[in-house]
Every structure is written in C-alpha cells, then in structure tokens.
C-alpha cells in the first residue's frame, strides 16, 4: 500500500487533467472514495452527536450561556450524583465479572458436551440474549413484584422469609445485577465457546504429557490462549453495561430514593424528565474519559499479543 501510494504520487508540474486522473487512480484515493459512505454515516450518527453532546454539556440550563465545566462541577457536588457514580461502577463491574465468570463456566460445560447435545443446549442458553431486554425485564419485574412475587413464593416453600426485591436499596441493586447477568451471560458464553473451540487440541495433549492436571491446563493453556477474547468481551461488555438503560428503567426506575440510578437512567431523568438537557448531557458524558483510557490499554495489550503470538 505505502509504496504503491508513493509511486503514484502526482508530480507538482503535471498539467491539471492528467494529475486529476492520476489522483483518481491512486489506490489510496479509490479506497478513500469507497469508504466515504461509511465515513459519512459514522460522521453523521456518531461524531456529530458526540460533539454536539459535548457542546451541550457546557451550556447553562436554558442553553443560552456557555458555562464551561460548570455542569460537571455541580454534578460532582451533588450527593445523588455521587451515588449514581458509585451505583454505576458497582453495577457495571459486578455484573461484568459475574457475566464473564458464568459465561466462561457455561462455555466450558458446553464445550465438553458431545456435539449432538451441544447445539440444543447452546440454543436454549442463548434465549435470554435474544429476547428484547425491555420485555424480559418486565417478566423479571413480575417475579420480583412484592404482592405476587413468584420468587418469594418459591422461597416460602423452603420457609425463607419474603425478600423485598425492589423495595430495599441493596436488594434492588442485586436485582438489577441479576437481570443484567441473566441477559448478558449468554453473550460471554458464545464468545468464549468460540474461543475454546479455537484452542488446538494438541496443546492440551502436550500439556497432559508435560504433566498438567485439568486445572493446570485451564490455568496455563486455556486462559492464556483466550486472553484476547476475554479482554475484548470484557471491555465491550463494560461499555455496554455502563450505558445500560432499559433494565434499570423498567425494573426500578432508579428507585428506591434514586439509589439504583446508573448514568443512562439518571441522564434521562435529569435531561428529559426534569428538563435540564445540558446537565443530562454532562451526566451521560461522565464515563467517557475513564472508558477511553481503559479501552486504550486493553486494545494495546490485545494488539501486542496478536503480533507476538498468533
């Protein structure tokens, strides 16, 4: 690519028509023209809204005055928003860890099933992931709902007292995490299953002969071979989970007492319901720098390993 482009570099003294032709013939030009629609789409749907959100977050409530980082300062001073930060981080980190662990465990179980049964189980385990989360969360809401809670009903059979699933802050937090894990673990499962299948069987055989127990094969062969997939799925899931909106909105709507709000639901509350659009934008932008830094390091690690090992 690089030398192709240098070779075809139009000379300065070439007459206009010829150099235009040569310009069009350059491979990099053609490549650029062909990706133009995509660039336009990304520009229109990603870059512009993002830039606009940043601009918005620096205006006053009426959007008449530029106030710099004022919205962010006010947010950081607010007890409620500090709770939102805590809850978002707690929610996202706990849920992602649980999803990764459960997804890995499921993938491992599936991987060791005989090929025939595997398909059937894989299909069934994927169901939570294909149901629109707003709908399935509604289902969970019914199960948690205090008057008719089917979960409490089952617990009652074992003489366990009723649990205030959505009424008490810590239980509400746990409920939100349960539903998110239920919804998101199949994604991890399917990614890890693919990764497990791509580890050559002979590496396990070599490890068995080298003296590895089942646990040591997992520790020294499987996990290192899956590091890239694990980092990428965790990163991806972390971003999506931080931005989660529907589960919190449907299950608790931020309650009780605004204690289960995450960034997205709180941004909606502040920006749309309470009508302070700039502050809502500031809420939704809050995680961006932190996630960007995490993404940078994760992707750099992935890149380095790909170069060295694969």
């Amino acid at each position: 690519m690089a030398d192709g482009a240098t070779l075809a570099m139009p000379r300065a003294e070439a007459p206009g028509g010829a150099s235009l032709k040569r310009f069009a013939r350059r491979r990099s030009t053609i490549a650029f023209l062909m990706t133009l629609p995509l660039i336009a789409v990304i520009g229109g749907l990603v870059a512009w809204p993002a830039g606009y959100a940043i601009w918005l977050s620096m205006l006053n409530r009426r959007m008449t005055q530029f106030i710099g980082l004022g919205n962010f300062e006010i947010l950081l001073d607010s007890e409620t928003f500090r709770m939102v930060i805590f809850q978002s981080v707690f929610f996202a980190v706990t849920a992602v860890i649980l999803k990764a662990l459960i997804g890995f465990w499921l993938a491992h179980m599936l991987h060791h099933l005989p090929a025939k049964g595997q398909k059937k189980w894989r299909g069934m385990l994927l169901v939570p992931w294909v149901i629109p989360p707003a709908l399935s969360t509604l289902g969970w809401w019914w199960m948690f709902e205090p008057t008719y809670s089917s979960i409490n009903w089952v617990l009652a059979i074992f003489a366990v007292p009723a649990v205030p699933w959505l009424g008490e802050p810590w239980w509400a937090r746990i409920s939100v995490i349960i539903v998110n894990v239920w919804y998101g673990a199949p994604f991890f499962m399917i990614m890890y299953l693919a990764a497990l299948k791509s580890v050559p069987e002979q590496l396990y055989e070599a490890a068995a002969i080298d003296g590895a127990t089942g646990w040591q094969k997992l520790r020294y062969v499987t996990l290192p071979m899956m590091r890239n997939i694990i980092s990428i799925t965790v990163l991806f899931s972390l971003i999506v989970t931080f931005a989660n909106y529907d589960i919190v909105r449907v299950l608790t709507n931020g309650g009780p007492r605004d204690l289960t709000h995450v960034f997205a639901s709180y941004a909606f509350q502040v920006g749309v319901l309470a009508g302070n659009i700039p502050r809502g934008a500031a809420v939704s932008l809050f995680m961006f720098p932190i996630l960007a830094v995490i993404a940078f390091f994760v992707l750099r690690g992935v890149n380095r390993r790909t170069k060295e090992e694969l």
């Binding site: 002979q202 002969i209 003296g211 290192p224 590091r227 060295e308 090992e309």
Partner: protein, 366 residues
C-alpha cells in the same frame, strides 16, 4: 530409561473402526523403534495409546515393567513430539521447554541448567527468549525436541515429527534426531509413513498395515528378507518389482515362466524351498538393483535376457530404467555409464540369488 511392552493391544474407536487389531511388541531399553506404514494403518493410534492420549480397548501396555493402562499421561513419564510441534504460542522458547519441569516443581536452577543444556545440544541457545511465532519450521522442531529432552523421561514418542519440513531440512533433522538419541540413549518410539526415515533411524523397524504388525526387524533384515509381499513392496525405493509368473517343474529343477515368454532357472539351492509352488501361479519379486546391465556374469544364478526401456531416468550416481514386460512395468537400476536409449532393446541381467517368490494367495514371501 525403560522398556516398553505392548501385549495383545486392540483399539476400537467409537463407531466400530478397529484401528489397531491386537498387536504385540517388546521394545528394549535404549532402543530406537520406528513404526512405519501407510496412512491410516494405526501407527499414531498405537503411539497415542503408549502416551495415554487414547484409551486401550483391550490388551496391556507396560512401561518400565509397570502396566500403564489406567495411568494418565502425566504420570507415565514420557515425552512426545507432535507433527505440528504443539508449542505453547504464548510462552517463550525457554518457558515452553521449562513448562514440564515447572509443573513437576523442579528447583529453578535445575530447570535452568537442563534447559540450557538441551538448548546447547540442539543449537537453539540464541532463540530462548523468542516466542514460537518468530521461529522457522526447523527451529520449532528443535524446540519441540528440546521440550522432550529436558524432561529426561523414560520414553520419547515421536509422531511424524519431520512431515511438516521441506525435503532438505527433513534430512538434516533426521541426522539430528539420530545424534540426539546417540547422546541421551532414551528409549524411543518413532512413527513415520516414510520408509527412508524408518530405515535410517531405526534399530528395529515395525511395519504396520491395516492395524496389524506385518514384520519387525532391523532395517537390513526387512530389506533383504521381507516376510510378506506388503513389506517387500513397502521397504525400499524404488520399490521391488513384482511380476506374475508360473512355477514349473522340469526334470528335477524348477523354472519360472515370465509373461513375455522368458524362462528363468530357479537356483538349485532353492528347489526345496519353492517346491510346493510347482505348477502354480506365483509372484516373482526382484529389486531394481538386482536387475541391471549384464555384469558379474561369472557368478552363479545370473540370468540375462532382453527387454526394452521405455523411460530412462538418470539420477547421477545411477540410472533408473522403466522397462515394459507384457503390460508390467519393471524398474532396473544400472550404472550411469551403461548406454541406454528409450525404445531400443537391451540386455539386462537378473541376479537370482536375490529373487523372492511370493504366494499370491497368502501374500507370504516363501
């Protein structure tokens, strides 16, 4: 260091494929044994049963006198080199070689000593910090061998270790493997489909076919006195010629009628050996180097007749002739100075001291 005993071992895969159909083999301490045979004959299966990577359907395998049927690979004290090396891609060369010792909780300095020693034997010391991805095929092969050597196990197992290398490197690594074995003297079981590899490496060659052992013996013995038509045809390159013929009894001496009307006198000392075949169809087997330009005519049992070469292949130190005998191609090895021309009949001499007669029904060499 240990001997390996294989007793009446059968392997049936799920679905009923019998890959190994009851084999017996005793491998002595320090011995280098090569299992050779065509693809699918059950060589790898046999090796993997010794390693413990496949379950033994019936029969018994013992390493160093201990039956290992129910012992997992990690407790068998064996090392294996795979065809595609199976190096751990996320570990450096050093860690790849050290892995087995680390798992067995060897002290760090002992691991270092052994890895560096193996690296010196294999000439890979400058590569110890690299990842397998940054190595060539031949270097990976050496690392895979190093991983086996550092363990100092009872038995080395090799499954087609040279098949992924180009021809030149293969010859070089073959020598290397032999050298390593002469240094460490570990009992070795080596699987290959390449009979040249088998002949050059083995103390004893085990020829397998369709899940059974056809013959076991030192390379020279297999070459000069094969037991079956399969072994006779498999060992040696170019392969032995097989010509259908009729054994006839003429006044106390046996004669062999070839398809093109040539009649060969069977050496007198073999009359008793082949007597039972008199009047029957047999296969006449003779190696290309015993079908040459007329020479040593003063010796006994040299038969000279005329054939026409179709294709002439000069190899440098020798020339191969492909001759046609009534629809049967036969190969002859002549001196490169002997004049030969395609389509021009020429005299060839068969050294009947080295002939083989095969019973076509049983496939046995008589």
């Amino acid at each position: 260091m240990a001997q390996v005993s294989i007793r009446k071992v059968v392997k049936a895969y799920e679905g009923g494929v019998q890959a190994v159909k009851g084999i017996d083999l005793e491998i002595a301490d320090h011995e280098f044994v090569v299992l050779v045979g065509p693809s699918g004959c059950g060589k790898s299966t046999t090796l993997r049963m010794i390693a413990g990577l496949e379950e033994i359907t019936s029969g018994e395998i013992a390493i160093g006198g201990m039956v290992v049927n129910d012992i997992p690979p990690r407790d068998r004290d064996i090392a294996m080199v795979f065809q595609n090396y199976a190096l751990y891609p996320h570990m450096s060369v050093y860690d790849n070689m050290a892995f087995g010792l680390t798992l067995r909780k060897f002290p760090k300095d002992e691991i270092k000593r052994r890895v560096e020693n193996a690296a010196r034997i294999l000439d890979i010391t400058p590569l110890l910090d690299r990842k397998p991805k940054a190595l060539s095929g031949g270097q990976r092969q050496r690392v895979a061998m190093g991983r086996a050597i550092v363990r100092d196990p009872k038995v080395f197992l090799f499954d087609e270790p040279l098949s992924n290398l180009d021809a030149k490197l293969r010859v070089q690594m073959r020598t290397e493997i032999k050298k390593v074995h002469q240094t460490v003297k570990t009992t070795t079981v080596y699987v290959t489909h390449d009979q040249v590899e088998a002949m050059t490496l083995a103390d004893r060659v085990v020829v397998m076919n369709h899940g059974v052992i056809e013959q076991v013996g030192p390379p020279q013995e297999l070459y000069h006195s094969p037991n079956t038509r399969f072994v006779a045809g498999f060992i040696g390159s170019p392969a032995m010629n097989f010509i259908p013929a009729r054994m006839e009894n003429g006044s106390g001496a046996l004669r062999l009628n070839l398809p093109n009307g040539i009649v060969l006198p069977v050496p007198a000392e073999r009359t008793a050996r082949y007597g039972a075949m008199a009047g029957k169809e047999v296969l006449f087997g003779i190696r290309p180097e015993h079908l040459t330009e007329p020479k040593n005519l003063d010796r006994q049992n040299i038969a000279v007749f005329e054939l026409t070469p179709e294709v002439i292949e000069p190899m440098g130190m020798e020339t191969l002739l492909h001759l046609w005998m009534q629809g049967h191609e036969v190969c002859s090895r002549i001196d490169p100075t002997t004049p030969a021309e395609p389509g021009r009949p020429m005299q060839v001499a068969a050294d009947l001291n080295h002939m083989h007669i095969i019973d076509p029904e049983s496939g046995r060499v008589l």
